[in-house]
Symmetry: C2
Subunit: 330 residues, 2 copies
């Protein structure tokens, strides 16, 4: 049989309500009795019953994370980080890999206190719902009814271009996906364009569509760059971790040295960037920071009554590594 507070009460010689208070460290019970009860509980291997607690407290201290696209390494890393970030809180996290509707049902059933939704391309279709939630995604132009954590892709690209510009680069090419509905990707391209304009580099602007976000997409895109007669870039910005990995590989295979011949800067700020063939300079909100912010946001949304800033744009960080350097003197 499992041990309940009543069992503890019997052994400790107190009432079970006192046990409850002691276990919750209530100031209403004397230190000495607290210690005694805690000791007994420990000895008996007491494990609180979540269901019973939940039944009276009307909350679970659990957050549900909806994760429809399960295959991208960067998102996987983010999920892992979010999970880790919850460890320092009183909440735990469960995951659903189902569709938004099915996931919603599961979370409703579990009566999670809040939800984290990965926005990506698909619009969030939950307007008025009892469960508080936050979205990780793009804030866009039009206002929202729900809170959004925005990694600020535009500012990232701006920083990337700035970094390269200050190193002396002018011929900066962007490789990324843009034949997509994924607002995240589109913002990156726009950010690049704006930044190039800002630094007066419009005539050097070159955007290569990788037609995807994977390793191979970056790998093949390099061909397109090299085929372009005349305007060869001295620096490339890759639109995602995987894309940049492919770019790096392709360049290396062709005997093009990074960063001596071409500098490479990647979007996505994850630890894995440090362990690429050539350690990669990258921009983006560091994934652990991003995770912290998301966790913070949902908890605040749950616990605080105020509904102030709906959109939280985070500041990206540039982490300089070996893949970027000054251009060769021509």
């Amino acid at each position: 049989m499992t041990v309940t507070i009543k069992d503890i009460a019997k052994v400790a010689g107190v009432s079970y309500s006192t046990v409850s208070k002691a276990l919750n460290n209530s100031p209403l019970v004397k230190e000495a009795t607290k210690r005694k009860i805690l000791k007994v509980a420990e000895e008996m291997g007491y494990e609180p019953n979540l269901a019973a607690k939940q039944l009276v407290r009307k909350r679970t201290d659990v957050i549900g994370l909806m994760w429809p696209t399960i295959e991208r390494i960067v998102l996987a890393t983010l999920v892992t980080n979010i999970s880790k970030a919850f460890e320092n809180t009183s909440y735990s996290m469960i995951l659903s890999v189902d569709s938004q509707e099915t996931a919603m049902e599961t979370f409703k059933k579990f009566q999670v206190d809040g939800m984290i939704i990965f926005g990506e391309s698909n619009e969030v279709s939950i307007t008025q719902d009892p469960i508080p939630f936050v979205v990780y995604g793009v804030s866009g132009k039009n206002e929202t009814s729900y809170p959004i954590i925005d990694a600020n892709h535009e500012a990232s690209m701006q920083k990337a271009v700035k970094h390269l510009y200050e190193l002396g680069h002018r011929n900066i090419t962007y490789i990324g996906q843009f034949d997509t509905k994924d607002a995240l990707q589109l913002e990156k391209v726009e950010g690049y364009e704006k930044a190039m304009k800002q630094f007066g580099l419009e005539k050097y602007k070159q955007i290569i569509d990788s037609k995807g976000l994977n390793w191979f997409d970056g790998y093949t895109a390099v061909e397109k760059v090299l085929q372009n007669e005349g305007q060869q870039p001295t620096a490339i910005i890759g639109g995602s971790y995987d894309i940049s990995g492919g770019i790096m590989r392709a360049l290396t295979e062709k005997g093009i040295s990074i960063p001596n011949d071409i500098s490479l800067v990647s979007y996505d700020n994850i630890p894995q960037m440090a362990t690429t063939e050539v350690p990669m300079t990258c921009i983006g909100v560091p994934v652990d920071v991003l995770a912290e912010e998301i966790v913070h946001a949902i908890i605040e949304r749950i616990e605080s009554e105020e509904r102030v800033e709906l959109v939280k744009k985070l500041s990206p960080t540039l982490t300089a590594r070996e893949s970027s350097g000054p251009p060769r003197i021509q």
Copy 2:
């Protein structure tokens, strides 16, 4: 306020215990009243309270899945399929991406009825535990104390070699990872070796270490194959979906036609195999079957008292597609 069975009872003009029975479709309540109650419940938007139910029933109808490595596409597909498989059962599934210990804690807290553990390389360290579980992994030589679902990698390789042999191939090379503790991978290599021996092809045996399971690992391994003077294979077996994708790409880039110059068969039987550049012949337990078996196994483990077969070896299926065909006549 949320509606409870007492609210429904009041509106329907019956006692709440009758409502409970009606909602559980008990034969103890008249069809007519059942219908009436169900209608009222529907109208009032009743949602059962899992915590209350759990408190009295002592079970959650929830299974926890431990998923330590979230980055491999094949495992991701498997998880998605398992999740789908649960939809036809009375159970739902939650996921944890934490370490085995942390995940265990979460699952204990939730009082899941059972757990699914992805064995992979790491030994399962839960010997005597109150929560029933099954492991997806390799059964190995020594017996276990816990039930294992084994996809039977050896038999897969055997089938792959047989398929190619019967098409007329002799020179069959295996590309996969084997400098690893991952028992799954090692079994594949052993399976290949045994099969080659069985068909008298020992002198053609060639094993290339991909040093990894990813796209790029397969891609680069092709170089090693082609560098080998003399013994050029007419067929290649790739050790995983990603590896084979890389192999396919590398071959195509070098102008080597699949399957005219070289046939390619891949391990891993997932739907994505049909949509590679050249649709891929593959072997392995189809991922939906595998998911079904895993789900079946854990449910049986929970619901049935008998403890019969601990190890369940599944039969792999060969799905022939365009990437394999008879060798060119020399």
